[in-house]
């Protein structure tokens, strides 16, 4: 890849976030192409491992997007996912990866603009972080 835009994976639930991403398209909104969506039936399916694997695979940022609170089609999947994301953020911080690279969002299927906005915001946020995820630390703590 020749562009310098950060690579972002967005785990989206089928009913809300993925639908919102579709709506962003229907509304012809624009966001950076390096946001790649992976569809899950529900963010409840999001194994915390996927987040770490995404970073291992070279992602600079990870978005997890589920339904609005109280609006999960599977009742509580988004609440579980939110907690998992919080836990992984803590872990990331401790292994030298800025936790800001990972974020959980709630959005409804009607929020196409919000999805595009999230994609743009995360891209900007990660751009503003000093180093890329896997650049060696200046003092490779031996």
């Amino acid at each position: 890849m020749t562009n310098s835009e950060p690579k972002i994976v967005a785990f989206c639930c089928h009913y809300c976030a993925f639908a919102a991403a579709d709506l962003a398209g229907v509304l012809r909104l624009k966001y950076p192409p390096n946001v790649h969506i992976i569809r899950l039936p529900c963010t409840g399916k999001l194994d915390t491992l996927y987040i770490l694997k995404a970073f291992e695979a070279g992602a600079d940022g990870v978005i997890v997007a589920g339904c609005l609170e109280g609006g999960c089609h599977f009742i509580s999947g988004n609440l579980r996912a939110k907690k998992r994301v919080l836990a992984v953020k803590g872990l990331l911080a401790r292994i030298g990866i800025a936790p800001e690279r990972l974020e959980f969002f709630n959005l409804s299927s009607a929020q196409g603009d919000r999805f595009a906005q999230i994609a743009r915001e995360m891209t900007e946020r990660i751009k503003s972080l000093s180093s890329s995820v896997l650049t060696p630390l200046p003092e490779g703590k031996g």
């Binding site: 770490l52 694997k53 872990l91 292994i95 060696p136 490779g140």
Partner: protein, 226 residues
């Protein structure tokens, strides 16, 4: 079940510092149930360590696996070849597993967990110590609630003066644990067995606890040799 906690990732990374080729071996029994060392945790920890090491510019090669019970050689045996090819093994089992692997293999076996206690699942995500494994059970006298494990001072003759007005123990932060003796008192009331409290419980014989040195249990009729 044995309840354990994963060590802080910093400590694990420090342990792994000299090594570049390591097996992360989980255990699918107690520590899987308490979400410290099952296959899922192996995957997570391995990914985190790989990321951290890549980050440090010193990549590490990790083989991931989990066995049914690390405290039995037979379950570990299928991993023998793999283990022998490693510079070290990070065991995500309780201390028993680490000991067991160390007895069997000449490779450094590193503990990824802090083994904590025998516990119950209070509710999902919360484990509580309720048995101390003292080797001399008196639960029939205390309404099934163990004062050795559940009282911070191992008291045997009733609660100390540090019970909060709401019946919680002053040692536990923000009232997170009820006083074991208040529980025993109430439970015995329900069972109509408060008379159990009238007599003095004598001083405990701690020789059956691990204060008597490392313990061993032998069942003669099950011995295969001799």
């Amino acid at each position: 079940m044995i309840v354990a906690d994963q060590k802080p990732i910093e400590e694990i990374l420090q342990m792994l510092e000299p090594y570049r080729k390591v097996l992360f071996l989980g255990c699918q029994t107690c520590v899987a149930v308490c979400m410290a060392g099952g296959e899922k945790e192996v995957g997570l920890l391995a990914a985190a360590v790989r990321l951290a090491r890549k980050h440090q510019g010193r990549p590490i090669e990790i083989v991931e696996g989990a066995v049914k019970r690390q405290c039995d050689d037979e379950f570990n045996e299928p991993w023998a070849k793999t283990i022998e090819q490693q510079e070290a093994v990070l065991s995500l089992a309780c201390g028993v597993g680490v000991n067991k692997l160390s007895e069997r293999f000449d490779v450094p076996i590193l503990p990824a967990l802090n083994t904590k206690f025998f516990g119950e699942v209070e509710r999902q995500g919360v484990w509580a110590e309720v048995c101390a494994g003292c080797g001399n059970c008196i639960l029939h006298l205390t309404g099934g609630i163990c004062p050795i494990a559940r009282c911070a001072k191992n008291l045997l003759n009733g609660p100390c003066g540090g019970v909060r007005a709401d019946g919680t123990c002053e040692v536990a932060q923000n009232g997170s644990r009820p006083c074991a003796w208040v529980m025993i008192y109430e439970r015995l009331g329900k069972l109509n067995q408060r008379q159990n409290l009238e007599n003095i419980f004598g001083a405990k014989d701690w020789s059956s606890d691990r204060h008597g040195g490392p313990r061993k249990r032998i069942r003669e009729d099950m011995l295969l040799e001799g």
